[in-house]
């Protein structure tokens, strides 16, 4: 029962994803108003030849800060999980 429901809903979701894939702009011809600005102005505004690095560290810097924070959070979480505790019992 549960497996049947899961199978049917999975099929529907995948069908809609395929519809999405067909409706998205043709591969290789994206709209590019924002990116054209970045490609044109990256050297003038940030001084970096690498437009990706300019996006990562300048235009979308807060994303990168957040990403670094996520890594920091995950490390803190992993270290926290494996910390030593008094009264630790296995099983």
């Amino acid at each position: 029962m549960r497996r049947v429901a899961a199978g049917i809903s999975l099929t529907i979701v995948i069908a809609f994803l395929a519809v999405t894939a067909l409706l998205v702009h043709p591969f290789g011809h994206p709209p590019a108003q924002m990116d054209d600005y970045i490609i044109k102005n990256t050297q003038r505004e940030t001084g970096a030849n690498n437009a990706v690095a300019a996006v990562v560290f300048d235009y979308r810097g807060l994303d990168t800060l957040g990403e670094a924070t996520i890594l920091f959070t995950a490390v803190a979480g992993v270290v926290m999980l494996f910390r030593k505790r008094e009264g630790e019992t296995t099983r």
């Binding site: 050297q43 003038r44 505004e45 940030t46 001084g47 970096a48 030849n49 690498n50 990706v52 690095a53 300019a54 990562v56 560290f57 300048d58 810097g61 807060l62 990168t64 800060l65 990403e67 670094a68 924070t69 890594l71 920091f72 995950a74 490390v75 992993v78 270290v79 494996f82 296995t90």
Partner: protein
């Protein structure tokens, strides 16, 4: 691990480390950057761990030192972001100055190391952070799994 793995990795690891550092340093000029270079470097650490065992690695690099290094990288990153607060957070305040401040000619060029403003510095900070963070994750997980193995 066997002797073959150990001697091969002894040979390979300096190259991996240097390649990782190269990617971090040249992040604003060539493909790559702090995250990618840091991941390459950390994969070298993982190779060390596989070849020589987690306890041996832990003697060389203590967990809390790595934790400090990671925090240092994060602090340097957010500090650079705070550096431009006179204008705005994340403002690239070094463009036009003498440190990394050259502005390249527009269009394709040969690439000048001293360009990019805060971007190369941020690359280094993030690189340090990623190196320390990923190594710490790998080390802590290896140590923990080692411990459970010995208890059985």
């Amino acid at each position: 691990m066997s002797k073959i793995v150990r001697s091969t990795s002894e040979f390979l690891i300096p190259f991996i480390f240097i390649f990782g550092l190269y990617m971090i340093m040249h992040g604003h000029l060539t493909p790559g950057g702090g995250f990618q270079g840091g991941a390459v470097f950390a994969s070298g650490m993982a190779l060390l761990l596989v070849a020589f065992g987690s306890h041996k690695l832990e003697k060389k690099s203590k967990a809390h030192v790595l934790s400090m290094l990671e925090s240092t990288g994060a602090l340097a990153f957010i500090g650079l972001a705070f550096g431009g607060i006179a204008v705005g957070f994340f403002y690239n305040f070094l463009v036009g100055s003498s440190i990394f401040g050259h502005i390249p000619p527009s269009g394709p060029n040969r690439g000048d190391m001293w360009t990019g403003g805060t971007i190369p510095l941020m690359n280094m900070a993030v690189g340090l952070k990623v190196i320390a963070g990923l190594s710490l994750i790998v080390l802590v997980m290896a140590l923990a799994s080692d411990k459970t193995g010995s208890q059985k």
